[in-house]
Amino acid sequence: MNKYIVILSAILSLSSCTGNFEEMNTDPNKLTEVGQREMPFMFAKAQSSASMNRSFYQTVQNLGADLYAQYFALTSTSFATDRYVMTRDWQRRFWSVVYVDTAPQLKSILENANPNSGEEALANILWVYAFHRLTDHFGPIPYFGAAEANKSIPYNKQQEIYDDFFKRLDAAVSNLKALPAGTTVFKGYELMYNGDVSKWIKFANTLRLRLALRISKADPARAKTEAESAVKSGVLTDNSENAFLDKSSAGNDTNGLSQVAAWNEFAMSSTIASYLKGYNDPRLSVYFQPDITSGKYNSLRNGLSATALGIARNRPAQNSNIGTYWVLPQADKTFAPNLTAKFHVMCCAEAYFLRAEGALNGWDMGTETAQQLYEKGIQASLIQWGANSETANQYIQSAALPSAPDDANNSPAVASTPIKWASNVTIQREQIGTQKWLALFPNGMEAWAEFRRTGYPKMYPVVQSDNPDLPGGAFIKRFPYPPTEETNNATELEKGRALLGGADNTATSVWWDVD
């Protein structure tokens, strides 16, 4: 019988042997904790995601804000967003970009970085950049509880979110300025300025200026304070300081717009065609390329029905794709994407136009007048896109007006906004809005936000709206909340909707969009 006991005890002792279980249950292919070593990689991830990488560009930006900014119009019948039909799942994707792909990385840096360090400052600046795009799309969003692992996360008022934006930017700039001259942060990893702190300061201040103008109707006093502080601290003034993001063919980090353009499903909108053609704008041939059938710069209107898109003149081959910076035409009439083209995050021209508008508001925007800032903005943009200063100066003095874009709808000129600085303040605002919009190209997200705020540039209404909330002539005001919030954050969503001041649909304006 002893033998059986031996066997049994052997069985028992060996079976319950769990000595190496902890080690065995640690994934060798993943990191299970992150610290200082991982911070630069996490910052780069946040940069790539916040500016919309390839995986999300089409559904989150190109089929949304890029169309609503009327830079492009859809030639494809595969999508209906150009007629304002919402694809609810795509709203979820934008949230995923900001909350899951961006915020946790920044939060981790904020937790691991030394207080008041350059790393902390950069993380805060990028945080504001990522979240302002999201709140501008939706209005109130879960913000102060973001990236906290809770089962429900409250929504916050856009006003409070903007307040936090300004505080973060202010603190970040102070901390960066306190660093020794020539300091770099995340050098070798950081994708915009390779860690150059002096440029990050200007980027942060320009972002602050942008946000200040954004709330200039909703909270004029705060707007003035923030804008003046930003300008005083130093904003982007030279094209050499433009924020361009490195892209890579490795992984899934290519230029999203280039990839989308190669599919040839959208083309030049008649709105931008009316301005660029009418102005004889040198940027026409940079922003767009001749269509592959006629060799002319052709456009179509936003919001065409599937039937209208069947008309020869509205088909992809008869309209202008985006310029050769993004896609190169091939012999077989297809397009090859320039996947590693640097992605334009923010340019100095925008800063000049923001200051010009501020100056018109009577704010202290530096020594230059509104006109000087307006003209410097034009110059910066034209030179950025390859024109020489002589061409730029001629353009500034040009008496040209927007023209009929020569499209299938026989659309008239979209507006009569002159280039040459007008004497009337209202027209001056329109000019600033229009030229800023032209300079922002192809940043549809910022352009659509500013169009909502200012009403500029003047645009064609969509030819057909298939969204009952936006009947004839109305422009889209925001995106409805993603359906996942109904299942995963329902109670807070209801409170969030109450903060909207209107229905959770595309017709309700966000807080800063005051008419």
Binding site: S15, D27, S49
Partner: protein, 1019 residues
């Protein structure tokens, strides 16, 4: 663990053998098959109430000492047990009847322990190997062939062509984030049945194969289905969902024989959707040559253009087995070749299986069983299913597109001779389906070796010890080639894309088992097993990615412009266990079963341990209660079982991922939140069964009631996206399954020339989500929200489908339309549930002289599916329903939001493009169908040749058919006023994948109908 085995072996050798004293007189006899009169070698014969026994030799003969009035019990797998009491005969002539599903047979239960079903306290169902190796499913997956044959099993086969994965659900779904399919056990050892890359949504995917697809039906001797978790005490938590116990063939003592089984079949597409055949490409009734849609003018159409894209696919199955042996050594060897073509062009599977098994008995008390099986399975050109899948690309071609136009899928670039994709319309989503079949290719090859060795030593006549080692290993290589210009993948870079994924998996199980039985008194007998095992599983997978090839379309890793290692995955896990069971028998009619198991799992936090017991009672009341004469057998049984379950590896620590990108690359936190305090899941189940047989066992009924509750379940719940996580794991919940399984069997006609036996199975399962977690009332099974979200909601049932529903007016009950006269919907409404309410199966075997006819009709009642295919076809103006109101004039019988009657006329295009939301984001209710269906699943006619004095001993020729036709298919759940009733356009039992994501389909290939010819020869 090696030490432990050694220990056992050492112990064995120290025991002197005990000899059995022969006191009775020798009886001889012969055992034959009652129908074929063939002698049966290897039949087990025991003298009832003793340990004396033997087996028949090659000629079915036996010699056994037995006294007068002792009862001999004859048992043989696949045959009914027979008892004969010795009353003076010296020579016994015994005929055994083949059993289909009946009582009193020997079945193989957990760990390969053979038990008489009389004594089992739980439900089992036995199938003979011959039921599965003639009529084959196009998936070539053994489990798909079980459809309609096993009461209570819900079998769903992924529509990914030959080698597809199959999902077998016994007694309902219980696990939300884990596995719900039954465990496969081959010859006493769990057989890995992981299915890779199963669809979790409608995004296009290449669903992988599963482990069960590697089982060669020709090597299967019998299958025993344990429907409840009763095997779990011995196999562990993997058996919590029931077990399919497969016993393979082995050599027998006797003459050397050769079996040949050959079959050829023709598999053809059975296109179930109805297309419109009047209108060509365009929109708004206007022709446009570049339109993707068929809302254009009346045109010459090509009604068979879609059907002609799919192929009529031949399949060839050839199996040769040889077997024979002596008393000391028996061998079995087989080779099988399965060549199965899919109906999607280019899709094909080649599977070669070689199997060798040797059983020895050289030493009186030592028996060994050694088996090695090698499988090579190649699947070429797996079809891409779902959105941008190949079948969908074929379905959406305009009705006025003829084959010759579709076949112009490329032009040649004169500068480099490479193909350039051609598509009649611009698209960032689709390619020409021929481009997809010719210029994109995903291939899969698996080499799998399964080895098993066991040795059993009879220590005394009442105690034996067994050691077993099993090793199951497979290496998979998947490669994908995509020509430059392919858009349907979404990410193919210039030059083209190529990848290779190398996956390896192995599991090794060491096991020791001590088994004994004792007669305590003339009334009490006990059987018991005590064992221990150690199971180790190791997985690794690396994908080498070459997206962007320097030499265009040179599909080699060496041509990569930016080589990358993506999806580097792997795990190692171990499960140590001790277990035991005890059966107490009283007077051969009352049995008590007890079992217990403790597991230590590496995937759980310390102390890693969990315990689970079971208990069962069975009583053959016909032996002690006087029943009417026409009741020949009666048994009642009940069990209570608990099963614990561990979890996947690596859930305890938060994970962060590295990915290539600009700069030095990216690190990001995983979107799934970890669970440091992970607890084991627990399932508690009860079962109550009744077996009755009437009129000399000609009629039988076997009914089982069951209830199970899964608690502490590992839930994978959605978090608010703002939390920075997509999901988190929590332990919570209580999911209940209750149901009834009934099997009626009858030998309705039984005469010398003609016989008809028939069985009817009925089952129903109802699932109830009693609770989830505090603050969590709903869990989505996957993230996919297209068409419908598949959810588990408190108060609802597993697999509820939620999505957009047409809003109705509270006052009038009428549908609501907007100012344009188009439907208004509300989100997050219940559309249905993917599980059937009832299942019915009717199997028949008729024989007349040498002819036999078999057929199976089965059906499912209830359950809903949202058809994404239908949404796409509706968006593109291709369905028959889209034909009416093309010119307008449809005024939906509805009201506007303020209650006024709708007066706005709309066109068919307005209606269908609105409700289908570009096809991709359709409003679910408009495309929800009942999955109810009845079909003639199988039919065969066979002829057995009379052969005498030939080297061919037996010959059988069969004509076979599978999936022949539907008697009924479900209808749309929503009848749109003014539009005719619609019928489900796809096979309701087909699926995108074999995972827990069910109830939504998109772009499945057509149903497959097969006709075949089969020959069986024995030499």
């Amino acid at each position: 663990m090696r030490l432990f085995l050694l220990n056992i072996l050492l112990s064995i050798s120290l025991f002197p053998g005990m000899s059995f004293s022969q006191t009775s007189s020798q009886r001889t006899g012969v055992v034959t098959d009652a129908t074929t009169k063939e002698s049966l070698p290897g039949v087990s014969i025991m003298v009832k109430g003793t340990q004396r026994g033997t087996t028949t030799n090659l000629d079915g003969e036996f010699i056994l000492p037995a006294s007068e009035n002792e009862t001999l019990v004859f048992t043989y797998i696949g045959y009914k047990e027979k008892e004969i009491t010795v009353r003076g005969q010296q020579k016994l002539v015994v005929q055994l009847e083949q059993s289909t599903q009946n009582l009193g047979e020997v079945v193989v239960t957990a760990l390969g322990i053979e038990r008489n079903t009389r004594t089992l306290p739980y439900a089992t169902q036995q199938l003979a190997g011959g039921d599965l190796n003639e009529i084959r499913d196009n998936s070539s997956n053994l489990l798909s062939s079980l459809s309609g044959k096993v009461s209570g099993a819900v079998i769903t086969t992924a529509a990914t062509g030959p080698g597809a994965a199959a999902r077998v659900i016994l007694r309902g779904n219980r696990s939300i984030s884990g596995n719900n399919t039954a465990l496969i056990v081959v010859d006493g050892v769990p057989y890995d049945n992981t299915s890779y890359n199963q669809a979790t949504g409608t995004t296009s995917s290449y669903g992988g194969s599963d482990g069960a697809a590697n089982v060669n039906p020709d090597d299967v001797a019998s299958i025993n289905v344990l429907k409840g978790p009763s095997a779990a005490a011995l196999y562990g938590s993997r058996a919590a969902n029931g077990a399919i116990i497969i016993t393979t063939k082995k050599g027998r003592e006797g003459k050397f024989s050769i079996d040949y089984n050959g079959g050829v079949s023709i598999d053809q597409p059975n296109l179930l959707m109805k297309f419109q055949n009047n209108y060509g490409r365009g929109n708004g009734g206007v022709y446009s040559p570049t339109a993707g849609e068929s809302w254009g003018e009346k045109a010459e159409t090509y009604p068979n253009n879609v059907k002609d894209f799919f192929e009529i696919a031949p399949s060839f199955n050839n199996a040769v087995s040889t077997y024979g042996g002596t008393k000391e050594l028996q061998g079995f060897a087989s080779y099988t070749s399965n060549i199965v073509n899919g109906i999607v062009p280019g899709n094909r599977m080649d599977r070669n299986t070689a199997n060798v098994r040797v059983n020895t008995n050289f030493f009186p008390k030592l028996t060994t069983d050694t088996k090695i099986t090698f499988v090579n399975q190649k699947i070429k050109n797996r079809p891409r299913l779902g959105d941008a899948g190949t079948p969908l690309e074929a379905y959406i071609m305009p009705r006025d597109m003829k084959e010759s136009e579709l076949k112009e899928f490329e032009t040649i670039d004169p500068t480099n001779g490479q193909p350039i994709r051609k598509y009649w319309t611009t698209s960032s989503i689709y390619d020409n389906p021929y481009w997809s079949t010719e210029r994109t290719s995903v291939n899969e090859e698996r080499n799998r070796v399964t080895a098993l060795g066991s040795a059993k030593y009879q220590l005394t006549d009442w105690l034996s010890v067994m050691g077993r080692i099993s090793y199951d290993r497979y290496n998979d290589k998947t490669d994908g080639s995509f020509y430059s210009g392919t858009v349907s993948l979404g990410d193919v870079k210039a030059g083209g894309k190529y990848y290779e994924t190398n996956t390896s998996y192995w599991e090794r199980n060491l096991e020791g088992l001590i088994s004994g039985n004792n007669t305590l008194s003339s009334s009490f007998k006990i059987n018991y097993n005590v064992g221990a095992s150690s199971l180790k599983r190791v997985f690794s997978s690396v994908q080498s990615m070459a997206n962007g090839l320097t030499i265009p379309n040179k599909f080699s890793l060496s041509s990569a412009t930016t080589p990358a290692f993506e999806n580097v995955l792997g795990y190692e896990r171990q499960l140590n266990s001790i277990f035991g069971n005890l059966q107490v028998g009283f007077n051969e009619y009352l049995y008590l079963d007890l079992s217990a198991r403790n597991d230590w799992s590496s995937t759980l936090p310390a102390p890693h341990s969990y315990f689970y017991p079971s208990a069962g009672v069975s009583a053959i009341f016909s032996e002690f209660i006087n029943l009417p004469a026409w009741v020949s057998f009666g048994k009642i049984r009940t069990t209570y079982t608990e099963v614990g379950n561990d979890a996947d590896p690596y859930l305890l620590n938060q994970r962060y991922n590295f990915a290539l990108g600009a700069g030095q690359g990216f690190i990001s936190r995983d979107g799934n939140k970890s669970i440091p305090n992970l607890k084991p899941e627990k399932t508690r189940s009860y079962e109550l069964g009744l077996e009755l047989k009437f009129i000399e066992n000609r009629l039988g009924i076997d009914a089982t009631l069951y209830k199970s509750n899964t608690i502490n379940q590992l839930l994978y719940v959605g978090l608010p996206m703002a939390s920075g996580f997509n999901r988190q794991y929590i332990n919570a919940g209580d999911i209940e399954n209750k149901g009834l399984e009934v099997m009626l069997t009858g030998r309705i006609i039984q005469s010398d020339k003609f016989s008809w036996s028939s069985s009817v199975s009925f089952s129903t399962n109802s699932n109830h989500v009693i609770e989830l977690a505090p603050n969590t009332t709903q869990v989505n099974i996957t993230d996919n929200t297209k068409y419908a979200t598949v959810i588990v909601k408190e108060g609802g049932s597993y697999g509820d489908l939620y999505g957009y529903k047409w809003k109705t007016d509270a006052n009038s009950g009428k549908y609501i339309v907007d100012a344009r006269g188009l439907p208004v919907v509300e989100s997050n409404q219940k559309l249905g549930n993917f599980n059937p309410d009832f299942q019915l199966g009717w199997n028949n075997q008729l024989s007349y002289k040498n002819f036999s006819l078999a057929f199976q009709i089965d059906g499912r009642i209830g359950g809903e599916m949202v058809s994404g295919t239908d949404a796409y076809l509706s968006y593109f103006g291709l369905t028959e329903s889209s034909e009416k109101f093309r010119e307008g004039g449809l005024i939906l019988d509805a009201v506007t939001a303020d209650g006024a009657a709708n007066t706005k006329a709309i066109t068919a295009q307005q209606l269908w493009t609105t409700v289908s939301q570009n096809g991709r984001d359709a409003w679910g209710e408009f495309f929800t169908y009942s999955m109810t269906n009845f079909r003639l699943r199988e039919a065969s006619v066979s002829y057995n040749f009379d052969i005498k004095n030939s080297f061919v001993k037996q010959a059988q020729l069969s004509l076979l058919g599978r999936n022949l036709f539907f008697f009924y298919r479900g209808k749309a759940k929503l009848n749109i006023p003014g539009i005719d009733e619609r019928t489900i356009p796809v096979d309701p039992e087909a699926a995108l994948g074999a995972g827990n994501y069910q109830g939504v389909e998109l772009g499945l290939p057509p149903a497959v109908r097969s006709f075949g010819l089969n020959v069986k020869l024995t030499f």
